[in-house]
Subunit: 235 residues, 2 copies
DNA sequence: TAGTGGTCTAGACCACTGC
DNA sequence: CAGTGGTCTAGACCACTAA
């Protein structure tokens, strides 16, 4: 009868509120009893939702106190950029993300690095290209591919928090569950040298990743190229 | 009244059975109803236990079928070396580990990369240097530091499986629980170029890692330098 | 069709935190 | 002390799997 389970509704509502910043880190969520009466459901149902949010790492629960917003994501899916030298400590190094190519529907490349399933090939791909900058300096070029399946309006609706992962989980209920990531140091090609404002042949960090999700057969593929003169990449 | 919750008992029993091999990968656990009557408890209690085992990654549950044993553990702490090109598929590329410097007691370096606790400084460090080779070719140079605390005979007893991690867990009950890892691409210094049989200035992959363990305040620090011409590093 | 896990209810008692 | 999350019960109907 019900399209979606009630605990899923509660889970999604709370998750959206946390990710969008309605609750901040350290805040208490409404108590279980409050959620029960608000949604008109039994406590075990609310607890199911909260238990899942705890597994996702979004909250922590304390007896006698309540459900506390954590929102320290497991860094497993994030490529985080850190200043390398001590000098960076004082300096600002806010990282900005800019689209070189906004998400667009396209074909998979013929010589795509990873093996694709029949399902993925049928669905086609969504491609985007982003750069991460510190001030005027380009730190990373990242090309991302995902399978174009059941992602309604993905290319039309703007990202949440400028983040692919926040957008996937809030708008599409897709959560990253694991990653295979490969690292190499390669000499900059002319194209990369241009993008990263380096000389041809300069050392570039290449990161090739395949992210698994809670949706069967749905993966996110990412190819990143980094100038690590002043920054390290944490992964 | 109860020292341990009933669902914890069920969880522990099943976990032990899985890890000890009583159930194999792909096997079905007893059904929820069977577990209920076996333990004489309510179904929601059994489900709590199974839900936790699912979160631990030990089982998978399927509607209409049952609880299936998975037991794929991830080895978060390993740097694994993979052939990069398709050509490597057919070829042998067994990786050999050789000591350049066997484990030895020493002082911490003055300009050590990571901040050390008072406890670590007091204890002093154990240092070792290893290379990984594919045939005659050096793929990686890795320098490792650990705090010299309560590691009886660590420098005297040979490694188990040539592996630091196997040795730490079997001989010293120390298990890796997490890692912070930083990646950079750097030009080879003369020393690195020599070790890795490359030209000066060639791109080198640098991996700096701090591993956390189940022993409070005990960390393993590792600095690795890789020739990624023919291999990628998975981490 | 019989058995499985998925969802849900309306209670209950407990240990703990904070006032 | 009132309120919180932790544990637990004894039912219920559902969708799914396999025989």
């Amino acid at each position: 009868m019900k399209d979606t389970a009630r605990y899923r509704t509660v889970q999604k509502d709370l998750r959206r509120s946390i990710i969008e910043g309605k609750y901040r880190v350290g805040d208490l969520l409404p108590s279980e009893n409050e959620l029960c009466s608000h949604y008109g459901i039994a406590r075990m149902t609310v607890r199911n939702a909260l238990s899942n949010l705890e597994t996702e790492g979004l909250i922590e629960r304390q007896k006698g106190k309540g459900s506390i917003v954590k929102f320290k994501r497991k860094s497993i899916e994030l490529l985080s950029i850190k200043g390398f030298t001590e000098i960076m400590k004082g300096k600002e190094h806010k990282i900005d993300t800019v689209f070189l190519q906004a998400p667009m529907v396209s074909q998979w490349e013929d010589d795509f690095y990873w093996a694709l399933s029949e399902m993925e090939i049928q669905a086609g791909s969504i491609f985007m290209s982003r750069i991460r900058m510190s001030g005027e300096k380009v730190i990373m070029v990242e090309n991302t591919f995902l399978s174009n399946s059941n992602l309604t309006d993905f290319c039309e609706i703007p990202f949440i928090n400028k983040s692919l992962f926040d957008t996937l989980i809030v708008n599409h209920d897709i959560e990253m569950t694991g990653v295979v990531q490969k690292f190499r140091a390669i000499p900059a090609t002319e194209e990369l040298a241009n993008s990263l404002q380096l000389g041809v042949g300069a050392p570039i960090l290449e990161i090739i990743r395949k992210l698994t999700t809670n949706r069967e057969g749905f993966f996110v593929y990412s190819f990143a190229y980094c100038n690590t003169d002043d920054f390290t990449i944490e992964a």
